[in-house]
């Protein structure tokens, strides 16, 4: 028997493998809002491996609040209508390891909470998904999580402002390795 009755141990993850491209990406996956809309910003970056080389077969997902800090519970992420903000998106990296989302700037979800975009990373060669956060640049002094991270690694959790929005590079391993998160009960 694969799982004994009553066994509630979490199922193990496995790598997304090399062949997810024809299954998981879909038209409009990375466009939480249409690019070019007045409040649209770009969240983009490059995923790199331990040698500093770009990872062309990674998949990122983001999940975020809207600009007022509200958390969407609207369906429609897979068939976007261009008007409903669902808060979730998916983007595969291209041949240069680059990913790009069109989204809006998230607001704080509660008093004293710094706004961030929650990020999941999948890739060929990565045996289980990784979680991280992309904080927005600004005053982050009061944030509990950032305060718990060693100062020399804190910057890996903070996006950098650029002309269209935010740049958030991910380093899976090595110099400047991104801080990846583990949650209780995992």
């Amino acid at each position: 028997m694969s799982r004994a009755p009553g066994d509630l141990t979490p199922t193990a993850g496995q790598t997304v493998g090399p062949f997810f491209h024809y299954a998981l990406p879909y038209p409009g996956d990375s466009e939480l809002v249409p690019p070019g809309r007045a409040d649209a910003v770009r969240l983009h970056g490059v995923v790199r491996d331990g040698a500093g080389d770009p990872v062309p077969d990674a998949l990122l997902e983001i999940w975020q609040a809207d600009p007022s800090g509200a958390i969407a519970q609207e369906p429609g992420s897979l068939r976007r209508d261009g008007f409903t903000f669902t808060g979730w998106g998916r983007a595969a990296t291209d041949a240069t390891g680059h990913y790009s989302f069109s989204t809006v700037t998230p607001g704080a979800t509660g008093p004293g909470q710094a706004p961030f975009v929650a990020v999941t990373v999948f890739a060929r060669g990565l045996l289980n998904r990784l979680f991280t956060r992309a904080y927005l640049p600004g005053d982050l002094d009061g944030d509990t999580l950032l305060a718990s991270v060693a100062e020399d690694r804190r910057h890996t959790l903070v996006a950098v402002a650029d002309e269209q929005g935010y740049r958030f590079d991910i380093r899976l391993q090595g110099e400047g390795e991104t801080v990846f998160l583990r949650h209780p009960r995992h």
Binding site: G13, T15, A23, A65, E74, Q173
Partner: protein, 255 residues
């Protein structure tokens, strides 16, 4: 390129070290190792620093919602996406998605993808010289029902070769992607079929070093799911990692 025998030695050494650590009182590992050298593509792609403890907050305590606007009911049948019948063993794969407290994960998205009966993916990077089946793409989606049950009709995939080591073959598997009720429960994994002779040889399957944790990825043949003169049937239940929202909310009330 190392031989399968050398690969078997690497896998066995890690397995033996884990077994002796557990018998000395070490923790049971229920997830794959990220740092698992027998899977060569992981060498430069695993973090070297410990994962950093984070109490989930804000959006992390919620998951995106999907509905019938996102997923059509026919998308759960991978055998009717083209003009004719696909080649291979028609099979029904069904089970429940539960959270770590045993609650069904209701009306949530499940995505699958897989090779065809000959072990070939419809993917430009797949160079395996096995036939493409014009009647089979190998991609499906569904929403769980109120009981957390998902159900797909598909074709049993074949094993396929890959370049990890000399004569490396993946055991037959279906890739699964699941969402829970919270962002932190997001998972992607692979479901296997019982009794596959390639299990012991496969570094991706063996990257889950605990034998019981590996076996949880293996579906069970279920003759009650099998359909008369139509399809074989397999059952595979999925348990996501523990939820936090119910734990965090009472704390917030006191804050």
């Amino acid at each position: 390129m190392v031989t399968q025998a050398e690969m078997d030695g690497e896998i066995a050494a890690i397995g033996a070290a884990y077994e002796s650590a557990v018998s000395a009182g070490g923790a049971e590992e229920t997830q794959p190792r990220l740092d698992y050298p027998p899977y060569r593509s992981s060498l430069l792609r695993h973090p070297t620093k410990d994962l950093h403890h984070a109490d989930p907050e804000g959006v992390e305590l919620w998951a995106p919602a999907f509905g019938h606007r996102d997923v059509g009911t026919l998308e759960a049948d991978l055998t009717i996406q083209h003009g004719g019948e696909p080649i291979g063993e028609r099979t029904v794969v069904t089970g429940r998605v539960l959270d770590g407290d045993g609650r069904p994960v209701r009306r949530q998205l499940v995505e699958i993808w897989q090779a065809n009966a000959g072990g070939r993916y419809i993917h430009k990077r797949d160079q395996h010289p096995a036939a493409i089946d014009p009647n089979f793409t190998g991609v499906g989606r569904c929403l769980t029902d109120d009981d957390g049950t998902y159900r797909f009709t598909t074709i049993k995939p074949g094993p396929y070769p890959w370049k990890n080591h000399r004569n490396a073959w993946r055991p037959a598997h279906i890739h699964f992607s699941m969402f829970g009720t919270e962002f932190t429960q997001r998972m992607v994994t692979q479901m296997y079929f019982p009794g596959d002779p390639l299990f012991a040889l496969d570094p991706i399957y063996q990257s889950i070093v605990d034998p019981r944790a590996r076996e949880r990825l293996v579906a069970t043949y279920d003759h009650d799911i099998t359909q008369h003169e139509w399809a074989t049937g397999y059952r595979w239940d999925i348990v996501l990692t523990g939820a936090h929202r119910t734990l965090m909310e009472p704390e917030e009330e006191h804050a």
